[in-house]
Amino acid sequence: MRVILETKERKKPFLPIEAETIIPSNFLKGPELTVYEGNKERLLSDLFTIVVEGTAVSPDKVEVVLKGDTARIKRVGEYMATGTIRIQGDIGMHCGNFMSGGVIEIGGNADAWLGREMLGGSIICHGNAGHYCASGYRGEKHGMRGGRVEVMGNAGDFCSEYLTGGEVHIHGNCGDMAGVEMKGGQLIIEGDATRPCGNMKDGMCMIFGTVHRILPTFEKIDTKKLPDRNVTVTVYKGDVANRGKGTLMIQKPHNEGDQHPANTLPGPATT
């Protein structure tokens, strides 16, 4: 079954829509769902043109397609366990919160908190992701615990904060403090990053772009050749300030002077 939701023109297009009901399993019984537009509860049909193609007997056979001006629709796919959501354009904040299975594919950019505290399934974002991509909630000890997030573009600050399991793959650059407080899982950044992995306790992070301002609490232990990529990386252990057993591999550390404490004072990101 394919459910196509195309946004209608809205009087106030900047009002956010809270759409945690848009998950595949909810459409098995039909598209009579409600979402909040600002503080008003609305029928899905008030905001979208709905087309349903075919039928399905189980939620994993349901595909939800979002078209049109979707940049301000928040919490799509929250607690999703199975099925597929395809978003043709941009998507609002908190897409795929607590998701435990299924697939979300985003054609455009994703706003902040993409795949926050995700447990399983996979998210592919063809554009850029905002801050706190694949991270934990503020104050919570565990962030993303499983599944896979792939971002073809860049990600904002605090990408994979509190990462505890699963895999995050950023093809572009990351902002400041990627992988901070990591406790497990794997973070791969193809582009540049600054101050990665502060207070890392476990897990692995590989960065193939230029890394500025590596924290002084990471201990250089080795260099290693990665045969599948044919590159040599510098291997760091850390964060030693907090019993760190994490591994940080960097292909291009900016320069050795970077590790001098005077150059590593906190400050705004350089990207």
Binding site: Y137, R138, G139, E140, K141, N242, R243
Partner: protein, 566 residues
């Protein structure tokens, strides 16, 4: 004039020795009276259990450190969210809820009076502002004196009258209710990175010992005729083997007051550990309970822990730092100049942890081994042991051996060897539960005279009607029904007004704050003492004139005047 008649109430009122009598309770203008006219509003209790409004004698719900707990736990604010509805404000949070969240949940459980466990005098304004925003409970504030420089100097000079005068001035300045000592001396030592490890260790730079602080403050408390006794959080909280310190402390306490205890020892569960390290921790509840049974001058409360997530917060900074070293989680520590400190850290009490299981058992053992329920009150040191919404479960555990056995079966191996919980077959009855949740508190806090905790004529009409008929239910087997009943009252009546009906809050609420003003002769008043004033101006970052809390912070303050015997 408003009148109310509660009909067919099955009343338990331990202070008046009424046990499950079906009777009517007439109320006029917020007080219980002899009779009301025929035009009175009528509430039919249908023979259900009716108790005086619940009183929590030690709970952290308002003030700077509770609020810092809120700052620190944005993740907690995702739990317990309720939308605005009728008269109810928005609430959120589970272990550190918003003030309205606290107030509504207490009200739903039939609680109408709460004592805030620790108010730093310097930060009293914040506490009083939050009291105003906890509208359904009358509030009282324990005022911290554990590291007060002026007090310690008076203790060193062995000048009890001076200490009493300082207490009197401070209590009336910050609108506090009673003396709280949290790890006496230890919080001051922590300002220098140290702690005290027994009641005979000297506090750095002051050369006084915790034992001297405790005995002097007990004496000062009685000289001032304060309604409540000294409220003590003993030294060495949460350290294996600390029961010796607790017993030594109890031995210091004289029996000098006929009306009530002379020491209220709070959350004693955290002070009843045997062993030497976390590996061999065991329960010493029997020793503690034996001491309390032999000393009518001591009242304690359980400090029960319940499994789950919560937040520990106390003025005991060094203890919280030790906890941080165990958990490596977020933490905070705070120094209140010249007075005290505080620390906050979130915890998870788990059934997989032997230490936590032993702690859980100790709290229950204390309650079950203390013969007189007036001497061991029910509380969790909210939120340190568990949020207060767990009280009904504790009531279930105390009333049913079967429930305890079922719970024990889910604990980690070894709990049985290190505690006596499985061997205790006492099951509390309704009267004992009523004592442990309101009558005992009213007596211990000295607010029975203010009309709290009983149904005598002229008492405040704080009434909780629970949807359960005592005679039809056997708590030993049907403990689930008991727990459900104590979770939500049919009616909670506060000063003659129905404030909650089946868990829903139906009025805005207007609480009072009780505070004490001990009257001290002019020649002893520290405000007239040039030396005290000079030191105050020299050491504090606030001026003495700006220190007292103005009346505007207590829109419905209720002052209790006492005449000091100085």
């Amino acid at each position: 004039m408003t009148e109310l008649l509660v009909k067919n109430a099955c009343v338990i009122d331990p202070l008046n020795r009424i046990l499950m009598e079906v009777m009517d309770i007439p109320v006029r203008d917020g007080r219980i009276v002899e009779s009301v006219s025929a035009g009175a509003d009528i509430i039919d209790a249908k023979g259900c259990l009716t108790l005086p409004g619940g009183i929590d004698s030690h709970s952290h719900v308002c003030g700077t450190k509770v609020n810092f707990g809120r700052y620190m736990s944005p993740e907690d604010m995702r739990a317990g969210r309720t939308a605005r509805r009728g008269k109810m404000h928005v609430t959120s949070g589970y272990y550190v809820p918003t003030t309205y969240g606290n107030s509504y949940r207490y009200s739903a459980m039939g609680y109408t009076t709460v004592l805030e466990g620790a108010m730093a005098p310097l930060e009293a304004r914040h506490t009083h502002e939050e009291f105003t925003a906890t509208p359904h409970q009358d509030m009282l504030a324990n005022t911290l004196f554990d590291g007060n420089w002026a007090i310690m100097e008076a203790v060193r000079a062995k000048d009890v009258k001076k200490a009493a005068a300082i207490v009197a001035w401070t209590l009336s300045a910050v609108k506090g209710y009673s003396i709280k000592l949290t790890n006496p001396g230890g919080t001051e030592a922590w300002g220098w990175g140290e702690d005290v490890s027994s009641i005979h260790d000297a506090v750095p730079n002051f050369n006084v010992t915790p034992a001297e602080i405790i005995t002097t403050m007990i004496e000062a408390n009685e000289l001032l005729h304060l309604p409540h006794s000294v409220h003590l959080h003993c030294n060495n909280l949460g350290k294996p083997g600390n029961y010796r310190t607790t017993l030594e402390t109890f031995d210091l306490v004289p029996d000098t007051n006929n009306g009530r205890q002379t020491l209220y020892a709070t959350h004693v569960q955290f002070h009843a550990y045997g062993g030497t390290t976390w590996r061999d921790i065991s329960s010493k509840a029997e020793e503690i309970a034996r001491a309390v049974n032999a000393k009518p001058q001591i009242v304690m409360d359980m400090g029960q822990i319940m499994f789950g997530r919560t937040m520990t917060m106390t003025a005991d900074g060094p203890m919280e730092f030790n906890l941080y070293c165990l958990h490596h989680n977020k933490w905070s520590n705070h120094d209140v100049e010249l007075e005290t400190g505080s620390g906050i850290i979130p915890v998870l009490y788990s059934k997989k942890s032997l230490v936590n299981c032993v702690m859980w058992a100790i709290g229950l053992e204390l309650a079950l081994l203390t013969k007189n329920p007036f001497q061991c009150l029910l509380e969790t040191d909210n939120p340190n042991g568990a949020p207060f919404v767990k009280y009904p479960e504790i009531i279930g555990l105390l009333m049913s051996k079967r429930y305890r056995d079922e719970e024990c079966a889910t604990l980690v191996d070894g709990t049985e060897q290190r505690t006596a919980i499985c061997a205790l077959d006492r099951e509390m009855d309704w009267n004992e539960i009523a004592i442990m949740t309101r009558a005992g508190q009213a007596k211990a806090l000295g607010i029975a005279a203010e009309g709290k905790g009983h149904f005598s004529k002229g008492a405040e009409a704080d009434i909780a009607i629970y949807p359960i008929r005592c005679r039809d239910v056997d708590p030993a087997t049907e403990y689930r029904k008991v727990i459900e009943a104590f979770r939500k009252t049919m009616y909670t009546i506060k000063r003659g007004r129905v404030v909650a009906r089946e868990g829903d809050i139906i009025v805005e609420g207007a609480n009072s704050t009780f505070w004490v003003n001990p009257v001290v002769p002019d020649d002893l008043n520290v405000a007239n003492d040039p030396e005290f004033v000079k030191k105050f101006e020299e050491y504090y970052t606030v001026r003495m004139g700006n220190y007292p809390v103005q009346d505007v912070y207590l829109p419905r303050g209720k002052c209790i005047r006492t005449k000091a015997a100085l």
